[in-house]
Symmetry: C2
Subunit: 111 residues, 2 copies
Amino acid sequence: MVEYKSEMLDHVFAAVADPTRRAILATLSRKPATIGEIARPFPVSLNAISKHIKMLERAGLIRRQVVGRKHYCRLEARPLRRATAWLEQQRAFWDVRLDALERHLATTRKR
Amino acid sequence: MVEYKSEMLDHVFAAVADPTRRAILATLSRKPATIGEIARPFPVSLNAISKHIKMLERAGLIRRQVVGRKHYCRLEARPLRRATAWLEQQRAFWDVRLDALERHLATTRKR
């Protein structure tokens, strides 16, 4: 069984539990962007977007690079992979269990 | 692009952002259990576990069945699948982008 750093998962899942932050990640999955570019489609203040970005950075989902006056953000895929792996593991165990149950029912029916 | 019901994802990700709730799901991925059985390994009150279970139910991750006095809980895999699919989609877009970047760099180097 794969072990996952629990605190990292806390931060990643809390970060993606908000629709604005998910939309930011979806934008950055297409290409890196400045904070101004990220904020443009959202009807909220630049300050609010900046807070969301800080939470995504804390979860390790975004890396920021400062070039002159511009802050470029890019997606960091590794934490996404770990979070996916955790969810997948639970689902996989459960599927194995359901398969066993189906086999059991099929055998019982034959008798 | 697959569309996801945003509110459902809010609840699922918020539910799995807590280590106790993740441990409960891991237990239930192995087999259904009563609330008493779920609570046993945790050094917190039955009331605290009950609250965690309610949050997991609200996210659609657990289904409860009352048999006599016992409340049996079992994992509901569908929301896990949807949450995994959302995370996977972001990662996949990003990987495609990285591949394109690598190809671009390789072409530039050849010139």
